[in-house]
């Protein structure tokens, strides 16, 4: 048993490190941009203006981030891309977290053949290169945004499943979960009210690890031409189509690439900080 020092009754106000503040600020900004995309785009993101092709950034007030090879406003395209990419990343991360945790809990609760089946599926998923699965599914079933989100929702579920199963089993083996079960609680109550909040911090950290990977995966698929299809745009799609102009008009590619890097970094930083904050035993 660990002897933990008693905390002073008056809890200190949380001290947020500066880099977490920056990360949160960035996430809020990106979310706001995604939500308000229709209102703040200066141009329609598909509108071409062939007179102003490949205008560098900061040259005219009309196109602060320049234009691409067809004279489309990079800023407008970036804003719409952020919306699409975030929608995919959030949707996919949520789907895979819910799917994985549910399967993990089922495995931990029923054990036996259910557990074997879940673990086998998880091993299968871990052994299969996800990009190949994605490529074949997209090649056979064509391409649509809901299908893409659902497909990405399969990414990383096995990690949540393993974590949820392991933690639920250890909770049931010796700890609070046995005690609550012994009090007469239904399995739903034990899992949703006690085990889930207790392992939520670990799951949230996994989400913040998987979220950037989903953004990168979506970028990769779009880069390969299998993700979001033109004229729809996404961050990866912009990077993919901008690569041909990397020597002459690097900004077409660098703008979305910077957003990808900053967003994934911000999510990771905030996630790590959140893990510590969510644990009541770490003052």
């Amino acid at each position: 048993m660990s002897a933990t020092a008693t905390l002073p009754p008056a809890r200190r106000l949380p001290q947020i490190p500066w880099y977490v503040t920056l990360g949160m600020g960035w996430i809020v900004l990106v979310l706001a941009v995604a939500l308000l995309a229709d209102l703040i785009t200066p141009f329609v993101y598909t509108a071409m203006d062939l007179q102003y092709r490949l205008v560098p950034p900061f040259q005219t007030w009309a196109h602060p981030l320049g234009t691409d090879e067809l004279g489309r406003d990079v800023l407008s395209r970036l804003i719409v891309s952020i919306r699409v990419s975030l929608l995919i990343a959030f949707g996919a991360t949520l789907i895979s977290a819910i799917l994985g945790t549910t399967l993990g809990f089922l495995a931990a609760h029923f054990r036996g053949i259910v557990e074997q089946a879940v673990l086998m599926l998880a091993d299968f998923q871990a052994a299969l290169p996800f990009l190949i699965l994605a490529l074949s599914v997209l090649a056979f079933f064509g391409n649509s945004l809901p299908l893409l989100i659902g497909l990405m929702g399969l990414y990383g579920w096995e990690r949540y499943a393993r974590i949820a199963r392991g933690l639920a089993i250890s909770a049931s083996a010796q700890g609070y979960a046995t005690a609550i079960t012994q009090l007469g609680a239904t399995p739903q109550r034990v899992y949703l009210r006690h085990i889930l909040p207790n392992i939520a911090s670990t799951l949230i950290v996994s989400m913040t690890l998987i979220f950037p990977e989903v953004i990168l995966l979506e970028s990769g698929l779009s880069f390969l031409g299998l993700g979001v299809q033109p004229p729809m745009t996404s961050l990866g799609n912009m990077v993919g189509y901008g690569r041909e102009y990397i020597t002459r008009a690097a900004w077409i590619m660098l703008c979305p690439a910077t957003v990808i890097v900053l967003t994934t970094l911000a999510v990771s930083l905030v996630g790590d900080w959140l893990r510590d904050r969510l644990d009541p035993t770490l003052g």
Binding site: M1, S2, T4, T6, L7, Q174, G175, Y176, T178, A179, I180, Q182, L183, G184, A185, T186, P187, R189, H194, P197, N198, P280, T281
Partner: protein, 325 residues
């Protein structure tokens, strides 16, 4: 009067494997035990590690079903663990665990955990004041109820577990090593608390421990276990004053007591008991100072050696009595 809890010839085996390819072998953790607990009575269960005490406690509560034998509570057979009937029955029977920090949800304030059985069993009324009353009954303040488990001391946590166990007014309480993780000074407080609460409420209690002092203090009757069997059962005073079975004699003589030593200390030799390698005949014979040839081949059955006093030893039972059985 029908006993509150009755165990008849219960047995429970687990399967172990020595190595990766080793053959699975059943280990009989509990091997044919019959015990009864009446309302208002405390049955102490003592034994070394691996003697099957905790398994017995879990079967008494219905957390596990016995492989053989029956467990009845109030003359009704124990429902299968996890069934709706089993869950409803939890209101009547509760458990106090060895590790109170492990038994509490560290994310919730303790008051919320104490009233959780009321929520689970749909007991209406002012749950919060019931929880505060339960806190007060175990000697904790309302301010302590707002704390998280890690902000309390070990003894306070165990009081929280006891308060949670008693809030539904159960009729049976099983305490599995409830004080062995606590300091000696705190142990006495918790044991006294349990004694007081039991006297107040007329609970039937099963108190499992390896600590003879504590068991003697709290129990009305005591059963001594050795390798999954009860070797001696008697009223606590009789058993500690005049232990009959050689194993009990060794245990009692090993317990420290104040003042000059009254009985010769019996020192046991040989291996500590291993349930995976149960000796032939009487399980205790390899360590028994008075074992005879018969003990090596024939397992003794529990027999009444005095009113309310049973023991399983060939040397305590006249041969004629055994033959008559």
């Amino acid at each position: 009067m029908t006993p509150l809890l009755q165990l008849r010839d219960v047995a429970r085996s687990y399967v172990t494997r020595n190595n990766l390819f080793g053959q699975a072998r059943p280990v009989r953790a509990v091997d044919g035990i019959s015990l009864t607990v009446n309302a208002g009575e405390t049955l102490g269960i003592v034994g070394e590690s691996g003697s099957g005490k905790s398994t017995l406690g879990r079967m008494a509560l219905g957390l596990e079903l016995p492989d053989e034998g029956t467990v009845t509570f109030d003359d009704a057979p124990m429902p299968a663990p996890g069934s709706a009937a089993w869950r409803t029955l939890r209101r009547q029977m509760q458990m106090v665990f060895q590790d109170p920090l492990g038994a509490l949800d560290r994310r919730l304030p303790v008051l919320e955990q104490i009233i959780e059985p009321l929520v689970i069993h749909g007991i209406d009324g002012d749950q919060r004041s019931a929880g505060l009353a339960a806190l007060a009954s175990v000697g904790l303040s309302a301010a302590q109820g707002a704390r998280h488990p890690h902000e309390l001391s070990g003894g306070q946590r165990q009081r929280v577990v006891i308060a949670r166990a008693l809030i539904t007014s159960p009729r049976l309480l099983v305490c599995d090593e409830p004080v062995s993780a606590l300091d000696v000074s705190i142990q006495a407080q918790v044991v006294n608390l349990l004694i007081d609460l039991q006297a107040e409420r007329g609970l039937g209690m099963v108190f499992i421990s390896h600590d003879l002092r504590v068991v003697r203090q709290i129990s009305n009757r005591v059963a001594v276990m050795y390798l999954g069997r009860v070797v001696e059962e008697a009223a606590a005073d009789d058993l500690f004053r005049a232990p009959q079975h050689p194993y009990t004699r060794a245990l009692v003589s090993a317990a420290p007591s104040p003042g000059p030593r009254r009985v010769e200390r019996v020192i046991l030799t040989g291996e500590p008991p291993n349930p995976a390698a149960r000796p032939e005949g009487c399980a205790f014979h390899p360590r028994c100072p008075v074992a005879t040839a018969r003990c090596r081949t024939e397992a003794p059955a529990p027999a009444r050696i005095a009113p309310g006093h049973t023991a399983a030893c060939h040397l305590l039972t006249p041969a004629a009595k055994v033959a008559a059985r």
